[in-house]
């Protein structure tokens, strides 16, 4: 079968539905598109005339900006909608908001929402391509893609590597997407965290579950640190921030438990000095800054390949 040149689905709602070939395609395309940032004119006309809407129900400057830059570098037009909680209270349903956007003939909707499954609902009801920028605790596919890209770029390959994620796995959509993505590409994924923030049921989803940090880090090629959300303490899920950091914070000493040269990654934003020590965040093996740059290239690739898919379907006379 010929290698794909587009994404099969209209939307990118998660890593789960992507095939290994499609993931490969996204990473390869991102590699080419990363060059655009180095041109004197940081733009190619590939998505000229297309409109992308950032529909963010949860605040996020970094992800939103990353998508915006990705679109703009492909010459698409961007509209940002930051839906405050109050307008949801005012009564406009998600579906109505979406239908309004559709009426304005929008091509791409990038959506971040606090409810798992919200982008899926939108995608079912719209012609536009929906990209999930994070839905509840479910998935954050472009984060996982840029994580894959970063590991591939820095370590040469993903297959056979061991990736250890540390932190509040239970509530993390990044952890879920990374588990699926890295496993699909042949890596081994370990989860590590306190029992109330990491259910043993994750083993049924394919992760190696650890509650001891040393065991989790031994032999790891990548240390992936998740952000600690202080609300979890208030919800009674952890006794105190100190109790967490004592056992799970990534300090320079603990980095040594992993393989020499192990990458340190973080989806951002970081709580410096809490889940990750300053020296580690800025250390020689930290690729946190690269993740940000790679995020734009990966998101450009996603937009480009979704657009290819739309073009092909339109040419085939299908429903568009």
């Amino acid at each position: 079968m010929a290698a794909p040149d587009a994404l099969a689905a209209k939307d990118l709602l998660g890593i789960e539905p992507l095939t290994k070939d499609e993931i490969q395609l996204i990473l390869d395309t991102a590699h080419t598109l990363a060059d655009v940032a180095k041109h004197p004119i940081k733009k190619v006309p590939a998505l000229r005339g297309r409109t992308m809407v950032n529909l963010f129900y949860e605040a996020s400057t970094r992800t939103r900006t990353s998508f915006e830059l990705a679109a703009v570098r492909l010459s698409a037009d961007v509209v940002n909608i930051n839906v405050q909680a109050s307008s949801v209270v005012k009564g406009e349903t998600l579906l109505d908001t979406a239908k309004t956007l559709e009426a304005m003939t929008v091509d791409f909707i990038v959506m971040r929402h606090g409810s798992s499954g919200a982008p899926h609902m939108l995608a079912r009801n719209l012609q536009a391509s929906v990209i999930n920028a994070g839905d509840g605790q479910h998935e954050h596919p472009t984060q996982a893609l840029l994580d894959l890209y970063t590991v591939r770029e820095k370590l040469g390959s993903i297959e056979g590597k061991t990736i250890t994620l540390v932190g509040d796995i239970q509530h993390s959509r990044v952890a879920r997407s990374d588990l699926i993505a890295f496993t699909k590409m042949g890596a081994k994924v370990r989860f590590c965290g306190p029992p109330t923030l990491l259910s043993d049921d994750f083993a049924a989803l394919g992760a190696e579950v650890h509650h001891d940090l040393r065991a989790a880090l031994t032999g790891a090629d990548v240390i992936y640190v998740l952000r600690l959300q202080f609300e979890r303490h208030r919800m009674g899920l952890m006794p105190s921030v100190k109790a967490y950091t004592q056992r799970y914070a990534i300090t320079p000493d603990r980095v040594k438990w992993a393989k020499p040269g192990a990458l340190v990654m973080h989806p951002g934003p970081m709580n410096r000095g809490v889940e990750i020590a300053h020296e580690v965040a800025d250390g020689p093996t930290s690729v946190i800054v690269d993740q940000v740059a790679n995020g734009i290239a990966v998101r450009m690739a996603v937009l480009y390949l979704l657009e290819n898919g739309r073009t092909k379907r339109a040419a085939a006379g299908g429903v568009q």
Binding site: S116, G117, M121, G136, H138
Partner: protein, 428 residues
């Protein structure tokens, strides 16, 4: 009205009848069951090749009137019930306002008298306003016509209230129906807590929530002698406890729904709100335990828990969506599919679960075709093929996860009090 149902296989476990016979109904009551009955001036309903059973009684239905008539009314809900083969339903009291006073029961009964096409027996609330704080006037509710008590939709969380209520229901000889789900333990969950909820990033409801309330209520029922009826049981452990309590003669009964017998938490799929229900669809392990519990008689009745919701409640984010599915019209077909055809129970078993037992346990007339009983008959074809088309449902709401499903088995004729309400699968 006089009706002769001719030539069908009469299946009435209550009177031990199983054979091709005729059933004559005069003046709204079963007059005679036998072979070769003369029709006289009775309307003849040919039932050759069909099963003739005492009318089905659905112990758990939400008719939404008063207060949510946009979703369903007594008129539309009872029509849906009739099409599904029911001749009687027990209406749950979580209406708006709830049925927590004799006046509200009287109101519902007056609406039933005007609009219902099948019998409707109202249940009354256990607590005032269903808040779980102050006990409602249970004796008054029974006097007004309530046949059961339930705060369904919520568990009675206060054990003292539950105990006192059971002391009363025991005296009143009325079932205490518990929706067993500890409100704290469910922790805002929106589906079964398990591998699927973890994968989908949705908050889960642990089966422990059901088990804890069931365990508590079993102890209370044993102590008070109240008839505890566990609504829509789903948990393997709860079934074990109920089975064990029954063996010790604790006065407990329980009911199961077709959707919990047919579907698992996988039905949520890509966040399909049609599969969102309380208690939630469980994992395969629990579903199998439920089927086994039906087989060994631990489960006493099958009910629909018919819960209509409109697009406003369902076409939203999964976590925001209302829980519940319509079920009156798919119940028979699903029970045949999941229990009868695979041999878990036979047709007599089906009649026991959908008519004999429900009537008997809630002290309702019917559930048998013995002469003198109400002329409530369900004539059904266990093999009739049809497809679930939401637009064709008699229910006002169309929220079902079974849309498009091929079914085998449907009610053909339904007679209530000697009056045909459904003829040839259609409403009269």
């Amino acid at each position: 009205m006089n009706v002769l149902i001719r030539g069908g296989r009469v299946l009435d476990p209550a009177s031990g009848t199983d054979g091709v016979q005729d059933v004559l109904i005069t003046e709204g009551k079963v007059a005679k069951v036998g072979v070769g009955i003369e029709s006289g001036d009775a309307t003849v309903i040919e039932a050759k090749g069909l099963i003739v059973a005492p009318g089905f009684v659905d112990l758990h239905v939400h008719l939404r009137e008063p207060g949510q008539e946009g979703k369903e009314t007594i008129a539309t809900g009872t029509r849906a019930a009739a099409k599904g083969g029911m001749t009687a339903v027990v209406a749950m009291p979580n209406t708006v306002p709830p049925l927590d006073t004799p006046a509200m029961i009287a109101y519902v009964l007056s609406r039933v008298a005007q609009d219902a096409v099948v019998r409707v027996w109202p249940a009354g609330c256990i607590s005032h306003e269903r808040k779980g704080e102050v006990m409602a006037d249970l004796a008054g509710l029974k006097e007004a016509g309530a046949v059961a008590f339930s705060d369904d939709g919520n568990s009675v969380m206060n054990a003292l209230l539950a105990r006192r209520a059971m002391i009363n229901t025991s005296l009143l000889n009325v079932p205490y129906v518990e929706h067993a789900e500890d409100e704290d333990l469910v922790d805002g969950g929106v589906m079964h807590e398990g591998r699927v909820s973890l994968k989908l990033g949705l908050a889960g409801r642990t089966t422990l929530a059901e088990d804890i309330i069931v365990a508590r209520d079993l102890l209370l029922a044993e102590a008070t002698g109240a008839h505890l009826h566990v609504a829509h049981v789903t948990s393997k452990r709860s079934l074990e406890m109920i089975r064990e309590a029954k063996a010790r003669k604790v006065p407990v009964t329980c009911e199961a729904t077709p959707h919990h017998l047919v579907l698992t938490d996988e039905a949520v799929g890509e966040f399909d709100t049609a599969a969102k229900v309380l208690p939630p669809l469980r994992s395969e392990e629990h579903r199998q335990a439920l089927i086994a519990a039906v087989k060994d008689g631990t489960v006493d009745a099958i009910v629909s828990d018919h819960a209509p919701h409109g697009p406003l409640e369902k076409e939203v984010e999964f976590a925001q969506a209302a829980s519940g599915m319509v079920g009156l019209e798919t119940m028979l077909g699903l029970v045949l599919e999941i229990l009868v055809r695979p041999g878990v129970i036979d047709l007599a078993g089906l009649v026991r679960l959908m008519s004999t037992n429900p009537a008997r346990l809630f002290h309702l007339p019917g559930g048998t075709l013995a002469p003198g009983s109400p002329g409530d008959v369900t004539v059904f074809d266990p093999d009739a093929a049809w497809t679930v088309d939401p637009r064709a449902l008699a229910s006002k709401s169309k929220n079902t996860p079974f849309a498009g499903r091929s079914m085998r088995g449907r009610a053909v004729h339904v007679i209530v009090g000697g009056r045909p309400v459904v003829r040839d699968c259609g409403l009269v």
